[in-house]
């Protein structure tokens, strides 16, 4: 019977397709973690992107936690055997805790829930000055590079309106990640000299020559030139800043290199290390800087006075590295480097735990590699949802939908007193939900994870669709059953006229919301429109077919 009716056939086929897209990832049987990113200098065999990792050394890997725990104990240069996509593979660890690739959890479903359901945070960033569309695009590409370098998965970046940037992060999140992403990444290396003053005058070595410096009424006299406090000026092609002026000392900062001078950031074990020091861990990594900056270094360090530190002889000035105006590292310069070109400075840092040190190093490396953001960003809105809160919402929404379905069935049963009407109505309503979810799963599957995300507004849209859907079915039923004085064909036409009129009006009302796409409500509007389209083209025609058959109207 079903196969003979085109409307029912279409519904049955599409229901099957929807079910396939919703549950197919569960059937594929892949569990555990997959390779997300392979280091350029990894020493691995048989490891490729997206390979499923099921065993590391002798440990079975079922999830991300298993993987991270087993990798944490691996020492540098250790040989590690693995099972990747069911086949033996191996790697030589690059350093402690790094076997040359990172992994991500396998996506088990095509239905992707928003961070308001699966937990996570949503951050809205605004440029500190008005910028053009192309600068916003540049900013987003820098952010995306950082995310990829850092190995973050499950993170989405969108633009909102003209120039707002929204970042959504699923799973465990921290303010740290947000701060990391929104770091402008303005990098500078400066030679810091402290000049002692006597009677408001002193001297220092600058570009190989000894020059005088002294305090004046409203500033500083630097080599017979008048400058204000805090002023940036150029002297012999070098940017100089005067800071922290007191009656006894003046600090002179001469720029050696900036972010533009970074040629490479080293992550290999020869140029990057991590070691326990005192009650924490010290990390370091080298960067390669440009030839011009190397020459500036040579020029600035020539003829600098020497001091003794322990058994080593150092230049008196130190090289200070700044990120976003904050001091990251202060480096002693070995006396033998004076007047030489320095092209490979090393950044150092210290954190209390090994994990924090590894994280900080990776963040610094990612920021330096991705370059600086074209504009400073400020955080104007943050939403945090813990996973329990989000899960609670989803489970209670399911209860709400079930309770609503029961109440609606009671009302329509009371009204029509006929299971031949109530049961088809419920089946059709359920089909509408399934088709919408199937469509959501299809978009995820077709775009490999960049598809439609189900958030709370989308769930609200789903509830709205069930509500209006039942309404429309009631309208169809009344139109088809009541008007005994007209033919079935006429009644069918009248019912469909109401359905189409109301659908076009709903779509007209929701359209501005989809186009303007303000924040969270876009999901609501899209759900409603897709639901209405599915309903008028598939489920409601099928319902009239069922109704005509069970009530023997034709």
């Amino acid at each position: 019977m079903i196969l003979k009716d085109v409307r029912l056939l279409v519904l049955a086929v599409l229901l099957g397709i929807s079910l396939y897209f919703i549950i197919s990832p569960l059937l594929s049987g892949r569990v555990g973690v997959v390779v997300a990113k392979i280091d350029s200098n990894a020493k691995c065999n048989n490891i490729r992107l997206d390979f499923a990792i099921t065993q590391v050394s002798a440990t079975q890997i079922k999830n991300l936690d298993d993987f991270h725990k087993s990798v944490l104990n691996i020492k540098g240069d250790e040989f590690v055997s693995l099972i990747a996509d069911g086949l033996p593979a191996n790697c030589v660890a690059l350093e402690d805790g790094n076997i040359g690739f990172t992994v991500a959890g396998v996506k088990k479903e095509n239905l992707v829930f928003g961070i308001d359901i699966q937990g996570g945070s949503r951050v809205l960033l605004k440029p500190k000055r008005t910028i053009t569309k192309s600068l916003i695009d540049d900013t987003i590409s820098v952010l995306t590079t950082r995310i990829n370098l850092y190995g973050l998965r499950d993170l989405r970046i969108y633009t909102i309106g003209e120039n707002l940037i929204q970042i959504e992060m699923g799973g465990a999140t921290s303010e740290e990640i947000v701060n990391f992403l929104s770091r402008q990444g303005k990098f500078e290396g400066k030679l810091e000299q402290t000049v002692k003053l006597k009677d408001a005058v002193g001297s220092l070595t600058f570009a190989g020559k000894s020059i005088s410096i002294g305090l004046s009424k409203d500033g500083v006299i630097f080599d017979n030139e008048q400058h204000k406090f805090g002023e940036l000026f150029t002297k012999d092609g070098i940017t100089v800043e005067i800071k922290n002026v007191t009656n006894e000392t003046i600090e002179i900062l001469s720029t050696v290199f900036t972010g533009k001078d970074i040629v490479a950031v080293f992550t290999d074990p020869q140029n990057s290390y991590l070691a326990p020091v005192g009650n924490g861990y010290e990390f370091s990594f080298a960067i390669q800087t440009s030839q011009e900056s190397a020459e500036r270094f040579a020029k600035l360090t020539r003829n600098q006075p020497i001091r003794l530190g322990g058994s080593e002889r150092y230049l008196e000035p130190v090289l200070v590295l700044f990120l976003d105006e904050d001091q990251v590292t202060s480096l002693n310069i070995v006396a033998s480097l004076a007047g030489q070109s320095l092209t490979k400075p090393t950044l150092q840092g210290f954190r209390e735990t090994r994990e924090a040190a590894l994280n900080e190093r990776l963040q610094l490396q990612s920021v330096l590699k991705s370059g600086s953001l074209p504009v400073e960003l400020e955080i104007i809105k943050t939403d945090v949802v813990t996973q329990t809160a989000g899960r609670a919402l989803l489970s209670s929404t399911i209860y709400v939908v079930i309770a609503a379905a029961i109440i609606v069935s009671i009302v329509i049963l009371f009204r029509y007193r006929d299971f031949k009407i109530v049961v088809p109505m419920l089946i059709i309503s359920f089909s509408e939900i399934l088709l919408i979810l199937g469509f959501a799963a299809f978009t995820q599957s077709a775009t490999k994870g960049a598809g439609w995300v189900l958030d709370v507004p989308a769930i609200a849209g789903l509830i709205a669709i069930i509500g209006t859907g039942v309404n429309q079915l009631i309208i169809i039923t009344d139109q088809m059953l009541q008007e005994k004085e007209t033919t079935v064909r006429q009644r069918h036409k009248a019912a469909m006229a109401i359905i189409f009129n109301s659908a076009s009006i709903v779509i007209a009302a929701m359209l501005p919301l989809v186009i303007a796409g303000v924040g969270a409500l876009k999901g609501f509007a899209i759900t409603t429109i897709i639901g209405v389209l599915i309903a008028i083209s598939i489920t409601r025609p099928a319902y009239t077919s069922i109704l005509e058959k069970v009530k023997q109207l034709s």
Partner: protein, 281 residues
């Protein structure tokens, strides 16, 4: 009755005028027609799950002393108890959480939202313009469908009046309109238009003699619609822990109730008058 409107028509007209008066007095007193929730105004909101109801007044006093003004209330849902904390200023969530820990509140699971006043106002302007454009588009579609000024006007006016009354009632009840509340208003438009289409399609082509019969048929459909959807929304209202879903359902329930006078008294009277007039000429 011929040629005249029944006295009952005065009821929806009175409700409409009263709603306008409420909105206007809101505007004169506060500079705003409605109560805006923090996402359309700016501020910080934190929801915390707790094992049992709390004495919120102590927390409220402590937070108010620190941040100027704070509202703390117990909330209950199917999942258990919780407290909701709202601070009008955009203060850091972590600061408030640590204040709460100092006050002896166990904070295990929480969700929060904070938004600057600049963005709040921006969102407000955006949703108001979206709602207005949506309404205009919808009116155009209605006019294209019916190609008749009187019936189109009847439907458009019924939905406009319903929105304004719903907003007036929410402000009387102290219900704040959030971002999602505007989505609810769009849903309300769609719903009101539905009932009006059922009514209009049923009675428009009939004769004055058959008008009552056709009206009753439409009404029986309309009452089934309103009872199913109102009950659905009441369930969401009572059971859902989601602030967003609760705000949507509050607005819809109010809107559905006031759809009754506007559609089934006001618009139906207009349509009856129109059917008689057309028949006489």
């Amino acid at each position: 009755m011929s040629g005249r409107f029944p006295k009952l028509v005065l009821l929806p007209i009175l409700i409409f005028l009263l709603s306008l008066a409420i909105l206007l007095s809101n505007f004169i007193r506060t500079g705003d027609f409605i109560l805006r929730d923090i996402d359309l105004k700016g501020g910080t909101l934190i929801n915390i799950e707790t094992p049992a109801p709390f004495d919120t007044s102590k927390i409220e006093q402590a937070l108010a002393a620190k941040y100027g003004s704070a509202f703390v209330s117990n909330v209950q849902s199917i999942r258990g108890y919780g407290i909701e904390i709202q601070v009008d200023k955009d203060v850091g969530v972590n600061g408030v959480i640590s204040d709460l820990k100092n006050l002896g509140v166990a904070v295990n699971s929480f969700s929060s939202e904070s938004i600057g006043s600049f963005l709040g106002n921006l969102f407000f302007e955006q949703v108001v313009s979206i709602l207005s454009i949506g309404f205009v588009l919808m009116s155009i579609v209605i006019f294209i469908i019916y190609r008749n000024l009187i019936t189109s006007f009847g439907i458009v006016f019924a939905s406009l009046a319903n929105i304004l009354t719903t907003l007036a009632i929410t402000s009387l009840l102290g219900i704040k309109i959030s971002f999602a509340g505007f989505a609810a208003l769009l849903m309300l438009i769609a719903y009101t238009v539905d009932t009006n289409i059922v009514l209009t399609n049923q009675v428009l082509k009939t004769t004055p003699e058959n008008f009552r019969k056709q009206y009753r048929r439409a009404l029986s459909t309309g009452l089934t619609l309103i009872s199913t959807i109102t009950l659905t929304m009441l369930i969401v209202l009572l059971l859902s822990p989601s602030k967003l879903l609760v705000n949507v359902s509050q607005i819809l329930v109010i809107g559905f109730i006031f759809d009754l006078p506007y559609t089934w008294i006001l618009n139906s009277s207009l349509l009856e008058w129109w059917v008689r007039r057309r028949h006489h000429t």
